[in-house]
Symmetry: C2
Subunit: 120 residues, 2 copies
DNA sequence: GCCGTACTACGAGGTCTATCGTACGAGCAG
DNA sequence: CTGCTCGTACGATAGACCTCGTAGTACGGC
């Protein structure tokens, strides 16, 4: 439980009603972002810092991808100390688009297995 | 090239094994293309000519979007006379990514209803 | 107070995308 | 054959996107 040590730094997230399907699909259409989402889904409910994901890109690019995921309503991000923790917005997504996230994740897992592209 | 033998102008489609999830998601992330796919799904199995879709763009742009859908494995296209008919590749998509197409279509329908953006 | 860590902001480069307009080829109706 | 309709191809333009590097801010420990 993140006891919101709230430092005043707050990040803008779309309301559930603001989340658009095209935006979510677009966010998931990038391999790097799909990888992040898959990692988050694997540790359901876990709040992971950006540095936990060993992405093969620079930190600037990571920031960009996390921002896209957040602004499109796929993840939620909060600050805690110097770290920024990310969580999948499964509840909101499931409420808006039932079954979508699960089938996308299943499809990604299946394709990763098929192509042997399964990363950590 | 398009060295078409008069009766059988054939179009290149990806094999089922060539269809990539990111590509499918990317194809569906565009409102114009999502609209095409929804129309096709609504008349399941039907072969509809491009002209059936009254898209608010020029013909060049339509051609472009249909091409993207075809090259990414979402639809199949065949010539018949002067018309080019399009069909949803539901069988292949369902085999590759079970449930994906249905949940995306359901999500699109739900969002259209929510936003009152239902066209057609 | 000072420094290291974690992440951000801004700008730039290169690529991709969506859109259009115009010109062309393929088929069908006279 | 002549024209008409359907769709394609090519070129161009404007905008978005992914990537990076550098400089900067917030936080925690010394």
């Amino acid at each position: 439980m993140t006891t919101a040590t709230a430092s005043g730094r707050t990040l803008a997230h779309p309301e559930p009603g603001e989340i658009r399907l095209e935006a979510v699909l677009h966010a998931l259409a990038d391999p790097m972002r799909m990888r992040i989402v898959r990692d988050l889904a694997r540790e359901e409910g876990a709040e992971l810092p950006c540095s936990h994901f060993r992405l093969p890109v620079t930190k600037s690019t990571s920031t960009h991808h996390f921002r896209v995921l957040r602004e499109n309503g796929v993840i939620r991000q909060i600050y805690r100390g110097t770290a920024k923790l990310s969580v999948l917005r499964r509840d909101d997504l499931d409420a808006l688009f039932p079954g979508l996230l699960d089938s996308v994740l299943a499809a990604a897992a299946r394709q990763a297995e098929r192509l042997g592209t399964d990363e950590a």
